[in-house]
């Protein structure tokens, strides 16, 4: 390893100095960029009028064909990516280059360091050194469980996979659960019990809390309060209930920042009781999503995605697909797979809902039409008709962000359509304590302010000082509490104001239990001893109940001992093995919307809409959970921070998202810092112009702008909670946005790794332009008429267009196919790849330099109009080309073809010339410009997958098709003397994908899905006209538009063939 480092370094310096001679100093140029003017939208529009932009486009810069974008497209990396960030002089370079040449030989004089083998003293029965074990457990988000299998290497959990038997997972995962292992090992987690800023002890805490409790006992627990987030844990609920029985005047409060605030209120109004609503997408033929990100956001999104995709996949024997309409204010992942997308401001979405309800005879008919927009009117009529035609097989989903009244209407609409019991199921609440969060928190704040709280115990990482509505003044009231205790994974804004901070145990370190969206209970089992002596919420509650030494294991087992009748040990082991407790699903209950509730809701929505319309120019600010760091709880997780957010492709920041037209009207530019004011509260943020954002609507995601979130997350992005008040938890109408000039530097990846398809050069009107597009889209109708419609226009080169004879694959012949039809862009695959392949994070500054390391990227394309585009996703891993352009240019043969068709990357040979990435038309190769991997921190080292090399500085890397899994599967099957059973080998991205959009396998095996997909008439290769013969191919996207909304002629005219 060390031997080549010097030559690597030499090469690096020489490359850098070549660039150095060509341009100015890199650092200097970067500074210019920083102070550059923001992109002016009107200018883009003006330029667009002169010439027509490409049909599929990635960013406003591309539409306007700015010189910066052109350069980005023609280069392998953005400019300056290849230069040293510090200003190193030419002389310095030459000195270093000379020195490294002279010393290159010396590096060869080292020998391998001596290593130790440390066997067990008594080897545990199940552990076979070198083989991972898998344990079924669950991870929670907002309290709801997702059943997972955790991979453990000699006691170290390294990877999370979905549990195929668990109803919420079906084998797939979301980004949060994929990233859980990083949180587990995060060195920034709090590592000791803190009392008033100093390290203290558990017994110290127990005695101090015990003293307060004893004092409160006489008063029945008056003044004792517990604050949790949403919890579904039966054990914790029983413990807290037990505590409340012992201390009847104590109170249990709840605050979940991105919880079911409006959903709960709507259920109370519609049914008079808290109700859990769940959907069955497998039965839904026509779906209307109202401002809803139901496919990627929420406790059941993984399951919903799977069911949705199953009905969307078009195959020769089933040329049918469901239809999805999206009406929304801010683009969602669901709308990227929608057949029709209508963007409306939040109030108009509600108006739309009302109009739809009326069209379906719900909520009483209004004398005047609710909608004045003729387009929306047509939509309502058409959709109402479509839904009615599919009564019982249709589904209307509205997200949490809609007003309670609007959600009551949606309940009523589903009822009117006969969807209850088929696509919509109601059950008893899954949450243990279904109370309205806001009222519960407000009551706590009121009592705290009045000095009526003596002990406040904040469990499981709640961080109300940061997340509570700004108008409640939580932080101020908290100071009046006698004893403040915070229990969480991190020291945060809340713990800073508390007397005690107790480190929490991570879900992979502790015993617990949780319910999933349908009520199924999973027992959460630890994969590792707590790294930092963390305590679980169960142990915290037990300590208050005079059992400070009770372990989580005892507590959870004790609870289930009362519930699992008969053979407890057998049932317990079964539940642990399977990952869930059988028959704990909550049965559907028959419910009807209360009489008059819909009527009343309709009136309310109408009044709200009228109010909003009275100020037509007011900007509505929407708060949404962040797609990667949620409500801020994952802020320290650098995988999630660096994951490009699905719609914006932003990393490390949130932004005030506004549409192009609105930005123009407000006079603010792209990336311009602004001041947002709402009811006297002000927030400095920066604008990100997002095509597809509804007019007069701004969106800001939660979770950023934290002050005490550790080294990586503090003071990053903009704190939406500063503007979020209790009367505007999701939408704040009438905010003021004022441009401040200048430019905020966002690290967005949307312009990185742009591919040149050649389509840019061809006149748009011609048919050829379609075939060269990197994303290919057709309609179901076209497909039915001629399934080969796409093949007719493919430019696949002749198979013998090669100087070498074609290789015959006798054994395996690996390949991958990606179905664009069902990819929602959720990015689980990206994090799964990162976890599996030891991919490092690089930080915002390095992302700005275009040095992000993700092997798999999800490209997001806009199509058509700048203001109201359609949105498409395309995951791009390495294509493993048969005639790979990278292979022929490598001077040291560090990237070569394997006899099974893989484009192998040999790290130990690579000297870092980067010729390969320069020659890759797909731009999927990533270079370690610096030493990004953490090899020192003993805790972080535990995270690495032992089957994959941790790369050093100066080497190229890229997607390997998870070659470690291939080799493992091959070895296992060969040892057992058979071939790999079809479809039993999955890449990490494939395994994580909720919609099963990715298949991988042996193209020599007729039973492998990949072979079948590749024979599909929708199959095409990316940039195949270059004769690279990619092994990763795509199935073109099909849309199923309603002919009433999009007549066939119109489509051809717009070239949406």
């Amino acid at each position: 390893m060390t031997r080549k480092r010097a030559s690597e370094f030499l090469m690096h310096s020489v490359m850098a100095s070549v660039n150095d001679g060509k341009g100015k100093c890199g650092a200097e140029a970067c500074r210019c960029q920083e102070t550059g003017e923001p992109l002016d939208i009107s200018e883009v529009r003006a330029r667009l009028q002169e010439k027509k932009g490409p049909e599929f486009w990635r960013s406003l810069e591309e539409l306007a064909a700015t010189p910066q974008f052109e350069e980005m497209m023609h280069r392998e990396f953005p400019r300056y990516a290849s230069e040293w960030p510090e200003g190193v002089s030419r002389r310095g370079f030459l000195q270093l280059a000379g020195a490294s040449l002279a010393l290159a030989g010396l590096a060869g004089c080292t020998t391998q360091p001596e290593e130790k083998i440390v066997p067990y003293v008594r080897q545990p029965e199940q552990i076979v050194p070198g083989k991972p074990l898998y344990f079924a457990t669950a991870l929670t988000l907002n309290g709801y469980a997702l059943g997972v299998l955790a991979e453990s290497h000699m006691g170290r959990p390294t990877k999370i996979e979905g549990n195929p038997d668990h109803p919420a997972s079906l084998g797939a995962t979301d980004v949060f659960s994929q990233a859980a292992v990083l949180t587990l090992y995060d060195p920034q987690r709090s590592q000791s019990i803190i009392k008033a800023g100093r390290i203290s002890t558990w017994s110290g805490f127990v005695s101090e809390a015990g003293a307060v409790l004893r004092a409160a006992q006489a008063l029945g627990g008056e003044g004792v309060r517990i604050l949790t987030g949403t919890t579904t844990s039966p054990t914790l609920a029983a413990q807290i209930q037990g505590f409340l029985t012992a201390f009847p005047r104590a109170r249990w409060h709840r605050w979940e920042p991105a919880g079911h605030h409006h959903g709960h209120a709507a259920a109370m109004r519609a049914f008079g009781r808290p109700v859990e609503t769940r959907y069955d997408f497998s039965k839904a033929a026509v779906i209307l999503a109202l401002d809803s990100d139901v496919l990627t956001c929420g406790p059941a999104s993984v399951r919903y995605s799977a069911d949705f995709a199953a009905n969307r996949r078009v195959r020769a024997d089933r040329p049918e697909m469901n239809r999805l309409y999206c009406v929304e204010s801010s683009p969602t992942n669901a709308s990227t797979v929608a057949d029709h997308r209508l963007q409306l401001p939040p109030a108009e979405v509600e108006a739309f809902t009302l109009a739809l309800a009326q069209a379906l005879g719900v909520g009483g008919g209004g004398a005047t039409p609710v909608l004045n927009d003729p387009k929306a009117q047509t939509w309502v009529q058409t959709i109402a008709q479509d839904l009615r035609q599919h009564a019982g097989r249709s589904l209307v989903v509205g997200d949490e962000h809609l007003s309670p009244a609007c959600q009551v209407l949606i309940h009523a609409v589903n009822q009117a359509l006969g969807n209850i019991g088929t696509t919509v199921l109601y059950s008893e609440p899954v949450q243990a304590n279904p109370v309205p969060d806001l009222a519960s928190l407000s009551e706590l704040v009121r009592d705290m302010s009045a000095g009526r709280v003596d002990l406040l115990l904040m469990l499981d990482g709640v961080n109300p000082v940061y997340t509570a509505p700004a108008d409640l003044g939580f932080a101020g009231a908290l100071q009046k509490v006698g004893l403040r205790v915070h229990h969480g994974l991190y020291e945060d804004e809340t713990s800073a104001l508390c007397h005690w901070h107790i480190p929490a145990a991570h879900e992979l370190e502790t015993w617990s239990d949780a319910r999933s969206f349908d009520g199924t209970v999973s027992i959460i089992q630890p994969l590792i001893e707590p790294l930092y002596q963390g305590k679980s919420a169960h142990e915290m509650m037990a300590a208050l109940g005079n059992r400070p030494d009770a372990t989580g294991y005892e507590l959870v087992r004790e609870h289930w001992q009362t519930l699992m009748v008969g053979d407890f040990e057998g049932a317990w082991r079964r539940a642990l093995h399977d990952g869930f407790v059988p028959n704990t699903q909550l049965p559907p209950i028959a419910l009807g919307v209360n009489g008059g509730a819909a009527q009343q809701a309709a009136g309310e929505v109408l009044a709200m809409v009228r109010r909003a319309r009275s100020q037509p120019d007011a900007v509505t600010l929407c708060f949404r959970p962040d797609p990667t760091i949620w409500d801020g709880r994952f802020a320290s997780n650098t995988w999630l921070q660096e994951l490009p957010k699905p719609l914006t492709k932003l990393t490390w920041d949130n932004a005030l998202l506004v549409g192009p037209a609105t930005a123009e009207r407000l006079g603010v530019g792209h990336e311009e810092p602004v001041e947002v004011s709402w009811k006297g509260r002000k927030l400095r943020a920066a604008v990100w112009v997002l095509p597809g954002q509804a007019a007069n609507t701004a969106t800001l995601t939660l979770g950023y702008g934290r002050t005490l979130a550790g080294e990586f997350a503090s003071e990053r992005g903009f704190n939406a909670y500063a503007l979020r008040t209790s009367d505007a938890l999701w939408t704040a109408p009438g905010v003021e946005v004022r441009g401040l000039g200048g430019r905020y530097l966002f690290a967005a990846t949307q312009n990185h790794h742009v591919m040149e398809s050649g389509a840019e050069e061809i006149p748009l009107a011609s048919r050829e332009a379609q075939t060269r597009q990197v994303v290919r889209v057709g309609t179901l109708e076209e497909y039915r008429k001629n399934p080969d419609f796409l093949q007719d226009h493919r430019e696949e080169p002749e198979p013998d267009m090669n100087m070498y004879p074609n290789w015959e694959y006798a054994g395996h012949k690996w390949g991958m196919a990606i179905d664009l039809n069902v990819c929602t862009g959720c990015s689980s695959c990206v994090i799964a790849c990162q976890a599996e392949n030891n991919i490092p994070v690089v930080g915002k500054e390095q992302v700005l330099a275009g040095r992000e390391m993700h092997w798999l990227r999800v490209d997001r394309y806009f199509y058509g109009d700048m203001d109201e585009p359609a949105i498409h996703n395309q995951p791009v891993p390495c294509m493993h080309c048969e005639t790979a352009p990278c292979e022929v240019v490598c001077p040291v043969a560090a990237t070569v073809h394997s006899d099974e068709g893989l484009n192998d990357m040999v790290y130990n040979r690579c000297v870092g010339t980067r010729y390969c990435s320069n020659n890759c038309p797909y731009k999927v190769r990533r270079f370690n410009f610096l030493r990004y991997s953490d090899r020192e921190n003993p805790v972080m080292r535990m995270l690495y997958n032992p089957d994959v090399t941790v790369r050093m500085r100066g080497v190229m890397e890229k997607c390997t098709y998870c070659v470690q899994r291939i080799e493992q599967a091959k070895i296992e099957s060969k040892v057992e003397n058979h071939r790999i059973p079809p479809n039993k080998l999955q890449t990490a991205c494939q395994q994580a994908c909720p919609t099963r959009a990715i298949v991988f396998g042996d193209m020599n095996g007729p039973d492998w899905h990949v072979t079948q997909w590749k024979a599909d008439p929708l199959n095409y290769g990316l940039l195949e006209e270059l004769n690279t013969r990619p092994r990763t191919t795509y199935l073109a996207k099909l849309r199923n538009p309603n002919p009433l909304l999009e007549p066939a002629e119109e489509r051809t005219e717009h070239g949406h063939s």
């Binding site: 390893m1 060869g108 020998t111 391998q112 001596e114 290593e115 130790k116 083998i117 440390v118 066997p119 067990y120 003293v121 008594r122 080897q123 076979v128 050194p129 070198g130 083989k131 054994g811 070569v896 394997s898 006899d899 099974e900 893989l902 192998d904 040999v906 790290y907 130990n908 089957d947 994959v948 090399t949 941790v950 390997t960 070659v963 470690q964 291939i966 080799e967 070895i971 060969k974 040892v975 003397n977």
Partner: protein, 218 residues
């Protein structure tokens, strides 16, 4: 005016001519050093906490390889025995031997014995024992006559060219599966017979030349 002395011509000729030899010599030194036991660790006896003798346990007592290296047939890693395996016998024999003190104290204090790794491949190489055993490659082929090693040492160079020697043409080293753990097995003396046996085994075990990079480097 003559700047250089007349002899410079000769010096120049000799040094140009000589540099070829010098470079060749340098290359020879380099390649020799690279293959020397200094660089490869071949044949070097390392210090171990307990002077465990394979000679005594294997040749003397006849213990099978798999008694200690339990996972060699199923996992990539052959397995180093836990202290408990040693104590299976040594709680009854040689219970007071000074040599075994580290073993006893490990067992008593629940502290693992830290062995020095003898066969240490670079971290970017992924070797798998199970598949080699399954394909009929004997222990002795790579590890040498372990039963004649009082202290374990590395028999082969473990360099890539050494691996490739077999990976390019595995038929030369294949043996019947049932003889994999037999350290004293010899192929049939008759050349033709040996050839036939190997050809049969290659066929039967489905042995192929495996020289793609990703077979070992990931």
């Amino acid at each position: 005016m003559q700047i250089f002395h007349r002899s410079t011509n000769t010096v120049a000729k000799v040094s140009i001519f000589g540099s070829v030899f010098f470079l060749a010599f340098f290359a020879w030194v380099f390649s020799t050093l690279l293959r020397s036991s200094y660089a490869t660790g071949q044949g070097v006896v390392l210090k171990q906490p307990v002077p465990f003798s394979h000679d005594h346990h294997v040749a003397g007592l006849g213990i099978d390889c798999r008694y200690c290296h339990t996972s060699v047939e199923t996992s990539g890693f052959a397995g180093i025995p836990p202290t408990e395996t040693c104590m299976n016998c040594h709680r009854q024999i040689w219970t007071n031997a000074d040599l075994l003190e580290p073993v006893r104290s490990s067992y008593a204090n629940d502290e693992p014995i830290q062995w020095t790794r003898v066969h240490d491949l670079p971290d970017f190489v992924y070797f798998n024992h199970a598949i080699h055993v399954a394909k009929g490659i004997g222990c002795v082929t790579c590890h040498g006559q372990v039963d004649r090693m009082p202290i374990m040492f590395q028999q082969a160079s473990l360099q890539m060219e050494w691996c490739l020697e077999c990976h390019r043409d595995p038929s030369r080293y294949v043996r019947p599966r049932e003889e994999v753990f037999n350290l004293n097995w010899q192929p049939p003396v008759d050349k033709a017979e040996a050839q036939a046996m190997r050809a049969r085994l290659v066929q039967e075990y489905g042995i192929r030349s495996m020289t793609s990079c990703s077979v070992c480097h990931r």
